[in-house]
């Protein structure tokens, strides 16, 4: 990717005016933090509410009869039976069973016909859009929503804040999605996010994005939050970062994302297989034969263990590698995700991270590291 020209989101001027420290990320100039600082931003989100700009992500609409069937042919997930007004986590897989990207799919079908709203990662969006176009059946149209911003309002106070502007959001539960007007602005809202907290993701026309964000930021509970805290929040919540914790070399099974594979798409299901790499992925579910697995690690010293750190067993033999790692401000301990040999993947297994010539003990731990607080009604 060329570093020369960085894209700006519709909220770039807002970030700068708030004192955001702008850094290159996935081809965009994004705020890594604001004057509050990464740790305080993280804690504020868990205590009250944080507003995140995620407009760098790709927003796509698939319209027309056959859209759901087409999407289903690319992911190991039940899309055909996804109810209208619901969102679901999905994975684009390749023929080798590796993961091309992770994404969110929302069913907005109604009287006007089939409609899916898809959100993909910024770094993968060109490739994902090409992938979907290559599988587009006759009668299905793909539209890239270049003129929309996407923000996330996350934290225990998010629902109270949203209710002030959009009372009907109070009726929504985790993964519900609705199109609605807020202050005269036409928005797509889902009750979801990537911090482990209750909250909303809001797609807004670019021209109105700053106006709506300023309204939200004017609420006393809300602070602007940068990518730094977004990373530590998602890590504490056990959520994968594509390109780090999952990629084309890891299958959903190795990536401990078996929960994302719908029953109906597994062997014995009514619509089993029928997605790229199904033989490999469904085979791994049956045989449990694979070498490495993604696990969560909790450090017992205070030293953070970073991405790329090698893991060894008590005999000093290399048994894995860290794919994401930081200090978890809410847990108050180093947290990491890693791929380890299957024999070392059981909970409570002790492994050692090689950090600057020392062996720091870490324990394979249940993820999420902290309790997720999604609102399920």
């Amino acid at each position: 990717m060329s570093e020369a020209v960085l894209n700006k989101t519709p909220l770039f001027d807002l970030h700068v005016s708030l004192g955001g420290k702008m850094v290159p990320f996935a081809g965009y100039e994004m705020p890594v933090q604001y004057p509050l600082g990464v740790k305080s931003e993280h804690l504020h989100t868990r205590e009250k509410a944080g507003l995140f700009d995620v407009s760098h992500m790709g927003q796509v609409i698939l319209k027309g009869e056959g859209a759901a069937a087409m999407m289903e042919s690319l992911v190991p997930v039940d899309i055909i039976d996804l109810p209208s007004g619901k969102q679901r986590y999905a994975l684009f897989t390749n023929e080798e069973g590796g993961i091309l990207d992770d994404l969110m799919v929302t069913n907005y079908s109604g009287e006007a016909g089939e409609e899916l709203y898809v959100v993909v990662n910024a770094a993968c969006k060109d490739q994902d859009i090409a992938h979907m176009r290559a599988h587009l059946p006759e009668g299905v149209e793909l539209e890239v929503l270049e003129d929309r911003a996407l923000v996330a309002l996350q934290g225990p106070a998010a629902a109270e804040v949203m209710k002030r502007f959009a009372p009907s959001t109070a009726e929504m539960v985790f993964m519900d999605s609705r199109k609605m007007s807020i202050e005269g602005i036409d928005c797509f809202i889902s009750r979801s996010g990537y911090t482990g907290e209750d909250g909303f993701e809001i797609s807004i026309p670019a021209a109105d994005a700053e106006k709506l964000c300023r309204l939200l930021l004017d609420q006393e509970e809300v602070e602007a939050i940068g990518l730094g805290a977004r990373d530590s929040l998602r890590l504490e919540s056990g959520l994968c970062l594509y390109g780090h914790d999952i990629d084309t070399t890891t299958t959903p099974i190795e990536g401990s994302l078996i929960w994302a594979i719908s029953k109906i798409r597994r062997n014995g299901g009514d619509r089993a297989a029928g997605f790229p790499g199904a033989d490999k992925i469904l085979g791994q579910i049956e045989t449990k034969e694979f070498d490495t697995k993604r696990v969560g690690l909790l450090g017992s010293s205070r030293a953070p263990v970073r991405e790329g750190t090698e893991l060894v067993n008590a005999d000093g033999e290399v048994i894995g590698k860290v794919t994401s790692g930081s200090f978890g401000p809410t847990i108050g301990a180093p947290v990491a995700m890693a791929y380890v040999q299957k024999a070392y993947s059981a909970l409570e297994t002790e492994v050692f991270a090689l950090v600057r010539g020392k062996q720091l003990p870490m324990t394979v731990s249940r993820m999420p590291f902290i309790e997720q607080r999604y609102y399920r009604g």
Partner: protein, 125 residues
């Protein structure tokens, strides 16, 4: 002996304790660059350190950053309070957030360090 600090270009400070030892930490500017400190790797008491060579390490939420010894000598004390409260480096970088005390092996090395004004001038460049 003056109580004022002297600085290395690599953003460490030194306070001359007047008894052949100095106290060492990182500058306020350095902690601002690092952001929230979550871990300080303290040197071992008794370790011999060499001026301009790394002797400690500070990790923030963002990244790890080496700390270089501003003078040569023997580590005679480390700030163990940082094990439990590494954020002290942010709160009082040039006071309670000190990292180690070093017994000078060559007091003349202090002359290589900058006074506060000279150090601040380097930050404005």
């Amino acid at each position: 002996m003056s109580d004022s600090l002297r600085f290395a270009a690599s953003h460490e400070w030194v306070r001359d304790n007047g008894d052949g030892t100095v106290t060492v930490g990182i500058s306020n500017h350095a902690q601002e660059l690092l952001g929230d400190v979550v871990f300080v790797e303290l040197p071992e008491v008794g370790a011999e350190v060499e001026a301009t060579k790394e002797f400690s390490l500070v990790e923030s939420v963002k990244a790890a950053s080496d700390v270089y010894a501003p003078v040569s000598g023997e580590v005679v004390e480390v700030n163990e309070a940082l094990d439990d409260a590494p954020e002290t480096v942010n709160e009082a970088p040039e006071g309670e957030g000190w990292i180690a005390k070093i017994k000078l092996s060559n007091a003349a090395e202090l002359e290589n360090l900058m006074d506060e004004n000279a150090y601040k001038a380097t930050l404005e460049e």
